[in-house]
C-alpha cells in the first residue's frame, strides 16, 4: 500500500532508470576504456622490455660489482661494470642544469603570475612554449659549436675540453626553464586572491606578498615542478651526447668530457651490438636504472600536484 502511494507521488510510477539496456552505448564505453588502457600497456611493455635482459645481465655481473666499483667500460676488453661514473655524470649535468633553471624558472613564474599584465602574459607565454619546443638536438648543436667555444674564450682558466659537462648542463638548464616556469606559474595562479588581498591589507608590499604569501601557498606545486624538471634533466640524451660526449670518466670536474646514463644508452645503442651479448644487455640494465630513478621522481611529483589541487579547488 505504501509502495503504491510512493509510485503515484513520482508521477507515472515508472522508474527513471532506462528500461532496456543500450548495447551500443556499452560497446562505446568499452572501446574508450581500451584506448585508456593502452597507456597502462605501454608501462607494462617498458617494464617487460627492460626486465628480461636486465635479469640476464645481473646473472653475469654481480650487483656488488655493478654498485661497488668505479670503472665503467662494458664495451671494452676486458669489460668493467662499475656504474658510478655514469651515475655521477648524470648527477653532475642535472645539478648544473638545476642551478641554472630553478632560479630563472621560478623568477619567470613569479613575474608571469604576479607582475605581468594579461597582455604581456599573452606575448611571453607562447614564446616560452616555443623555447620548450626547440628540439634537444638543436640545443646540443648550439652547445657544441657556440656555447663551449664562447666559454673557452671568456674563461680560459677553466681549461674546458671541446666536450664538457658544463655547457651540456647549462643547455639542459635552459631546456627545462619552460617546464619549471609554466608548472610553477600554474600553481601560483591557483592561489586564491583572498590570500593576496589579506596580505596587502596587512600592509605588505607586492614583493613581500609574492615571496612570503604566494610562493609558500604554491609550494607543493613548485616542488612538483622542480622534481619533474630534475627527472627531465636526468633523462636528457641528445644535448649530453653532443655537448658532453660519452667517455665515462669518474670525475666531478665539469670541464671534462663525461657520460651520463642516457648518453651511454644512446651511444651503445646506436652501435651494432650483437643481440644477447653482455654489452647489449648492459644497455637494458642501465635503462632499467634510469627508468626506476625517473619513475620514482615522477611519481612523487604527480602525488604532490594531486595534493595541492585538493587544497585549492
Amino acid at each position: 500500500m505504501a509502495a503504491q502511494h510512493r509510485a503515484t507521488a513520482t508521477g507515472t510510477g515508472r522508474s527513471l532508470a532506462r528500461s532496456r539496456p543500450r548495447y551500443g552505448e556499452a560497446a562505446i564505453k568499452v572501446v574508450l576504456m581500451l584506448a585508456a588502457l593502452v597507456s597502462v600497456a605501454t608501462t607494462l611493455a617498458i617494464v617487460a622490455a627492460l626486465a628480461e635482459p636486465t635479469i640476464e645481465f645481473f646473472a653475469t655481473v654481480s650487483i656488488a660489482e655493478f654498485f661497488g666499483s668505479t670503472t665503467w667500460g662494458p664495451l671494452f676488453n676486458p669489460p668493467s661494470f662499475g656504474v658510478w661514473p655514469i651515475i655521477v655524470g648524470t648527477l653532475e649535468v642535472t645539478v648544473i642544469a638545476m642551478i641554472v633553471a630553478v632560479p630563472l624558472g621560478l623568477a619567470s613564474a613569479i613575474y608571469l603570475s604576479e607582475y605581468a599584465t594579461p597582455r604581456v602574459r599573452k606575448i611571453f607565454k607562447p614564446v616560452l612554449e616555443v623555447l620548450a619546443g626547440v628540439p634537444t638536438v638543436v640545443f646540443g648543436f648550439f652547445a657544441l659549436v657556440f656555447v663551449t667555444p664562447l666559454l673557452q674564450q671568456i674563461f680560459p682558466f677553466l681549461n674546458l675540453e671541446p666536450r664538457n659537462a658544463l655547457s651540456a648542463g647549462l643547455l639542459v638548464g635552459i631546456m627545462i626553464i619552460p617546464i619549471i616556469a609554466s608548472m610553477a606559474e600554474d600553481s601560483m595562479a591557483a592561489v586564491p586572491n583572498g590570500l593576496r588581498e589579506g596580505s596587502y591589507a596587512l600592509g605588505a608590499s607586492k614583493m613581500l606578498t609574492s615571496v612570503r604569501v604566494v610562493v609558500p601557498a604554491a609550494f607543493s606545486g613548485i616542488v612538483a615542478a622542480v622534481i619533474l624538471a630534475f627527472s627531465r634533466a636526468a633523462g636528457e640524451t641528445m644535448i649530453v651526447v653532443l655537448a658532453a660526449g660519452a667517455k665515462p670518466v669518474f670525475t666531478v670536474n665539469p670541464a671534462n668530457e663525461m657520460a651520463t646514463m642516457a648518453s651511454f644508452i644512446a651511444s651503445a645503442g646506436s652501435g651494432d651490438l650483437p643481440v644477447g651479448s653482455i654489452g647489449y644487455k648492459t644497455i637494458f640494465a642501465v635503462g632499467a636504472l634510469l627508468f626506476i630513478l625517473t619513475f620514482a621522481m615522477n611519481w612523487i611529483s604527480a602525488r604532490l600536484v594531486q595534493k595541492y589541487r585538493e587544497v585549492y579547488d
Binding site: E25, A36, V38, S39, I46, Y115, G140, M207, E236, V241
Partner: protein, 296 residues
C-alpha cells in the same frame, strides 16, 4: 583637530613611490625571463646566420652524402619525418582522444583502477625518450620482429606522445561546462550522443591545439631513433611503412658528428628547416587557441 588629521594619515597609506628594493625585485624577475628568451633569440639568430650559405634548393632536392657536403641534401629525412608524423597522427591522436574522453566523461574517479590509469599517464609523460627507444628496440623491433622500419619508429613515437595528447585533450574536455552536458541529457540524449554532438564540438579547438603541440614534440625527437637503427645517411626515399628510414633530427645529428666544417653549415641549414616547421606549427596552435577558445 585630531579628527581632521585622520584622513590625512589614510592618504599616507598609499605608496609614495616604490622603494628601491621593490623596484630591483621586479627588474630581477623580468631579467630572468629575458635571459631565457634572449637565449632563444641568440640561438635562432646563430643557426640562421650559420646555415644561410646552404639554404638552397639542393637541400631538399638532393640526398645526403658522406663525401660531398657542398651538394648534400636532406630529402630522404624530410620524407622520413613526414611518414613518421603521418602514421603518428593516425595512431596516437585517435587513441589519445578516445582515452581522454573515457577518463573525463566515463571514469569513476573513486575507483582505484581509474586513479591508477591517471597516475600512470602523468608518469609516462615524463619517462625519458631514450627509454621509449629501448621499448621500441626490445619489444617492437625485436620481439614483434618489425625490424628497423618506419612502422617501428612510428609506433614508438606514437607511444611517446600519447600521454601528452591525452593530458591536453583532457584539459580541453574538462573546460566544457557541465551545464552543456546536463542540458543535452535533460533533452533525452544518451551519454554518447551528448559527447559526440555537444562536448566534442565544443572542445575541438583545445584538442587541436594540444595535438599540434604533441606532434611538434614528435617531429623534434632524435633519441629514440638512435636506438631504432635509423641510419643517418640514407640515399633513397622511404617507399612504405616497411622501409628503412631517417628523420630530420637524426640527420642533423649525423651531420654534426662528421668532422668536416662544411657539415656544421649543413647541420645549421637543416636546423633552420626543422625550426621553421616547428615555429609554423606552434603559430597555428597559438592562433587556434586565441581564435576559437571560448570562455564559458
Amino acid at each position: 583637530m585630531a579628527l581632521l588629521s585622520t584622513p590625512r594619515s589614510a592618504v599616507q597609506l598609499a605608496s609614495k613611490g616604490r622603494p628601491l628594493k621593490e623596484h630591483l625585485f621586479r627588474v630581477a624577475l623580468l631579467s630572468s625571463l629575458a635571459i631565457a628568451l634572449g637565449f632563444l633569440a641568440a640561438l635562432i639568430f646563430y643557426v640562421v646566420q650559420e646555415g644561410w650559405p646552404r639554404l638552397d634548393s639542393m637541400l631538399w632536392e638532393n640526398q645526403p652524402s658522406i663525401r660531398r657536403p657542398e651538394t648534400s641534401g636532406i630529402q630522404s629525412s624530410i620524407l622520413g619525418t613526414l611518414w613518421i608524423i603521418g602514421l603518428t597522427i593516425l595512431m596516437a591522436l585517435p587513441t589519445g582522444i578516445l582515452a581522454a574522453i573515457y577518463l573525463e566523461e566515463y571514469a569513476d574517479k573513486t575507483k582505484w583502477y581509474n586513479r591508477l590509469i591517471d597516475l600512470n599517464i602523468s608518469n609516462l609523460a615524463a619517462v625519458p625518450s631514450i627509454v621509449y627507444g629501448i621499448l621500441g628496440l626490445g619489444i617492437i623491433a625485436r620481439w614483434m620482429s618489425f625490424g628497423f622500419t618506419i612502422m617501428t619508429g612510428a609506433i614508438t613515437i606514437s607511444l611517446l606522445v600519447l600521454p601528452i595528447v591525452i593530458i591536453s585533450a583532457r584539459e580541453a574536455i574538462k573546460a566544457v561546462p557541465p551545464s552543456i552536458r546536463e542540458g543535452s541529457l535533460a533533452l533525452g540524449a544518451t551519454e554518447w550522443q551528448t559527447i559526440w554532438r555537444q562536448v566534442l564540438p565544443a572542445s575541438v579547438p583545445g584538442i587541436a591545439t594540444g595535438s599540434i603541440l604533441a606532434l611538434s614534440r614528435a617531429i623534434g625527437e632524435a633519441a629514440p631513433f638512435l636506438m631504432l637503427g635509423a641510419a643517418t645517411f640514407i640515399r633513397f626515399n622511404p617507399e612504405g611503412v616497411w622501409s628503412s628510414f631517417s628523420v630530420l633530427p637524426l640527420q642533423i645529428y649525423g651531420f654534426i658528428t662528421r668532422p668536416q666544417a662544411e657539415y656544421a653549415v649543413l647541420a645549421a641549414a637543416a636546423i633552420v628547416i626543422l625550426l621553421g616547421i616547428l615555429l609554423l606549427m606552434n603559430s597555428v596552435a597559438i592562433w587556434l587557441r586565441n581564435r576559437y577558445q571560448k570562455r564559458w
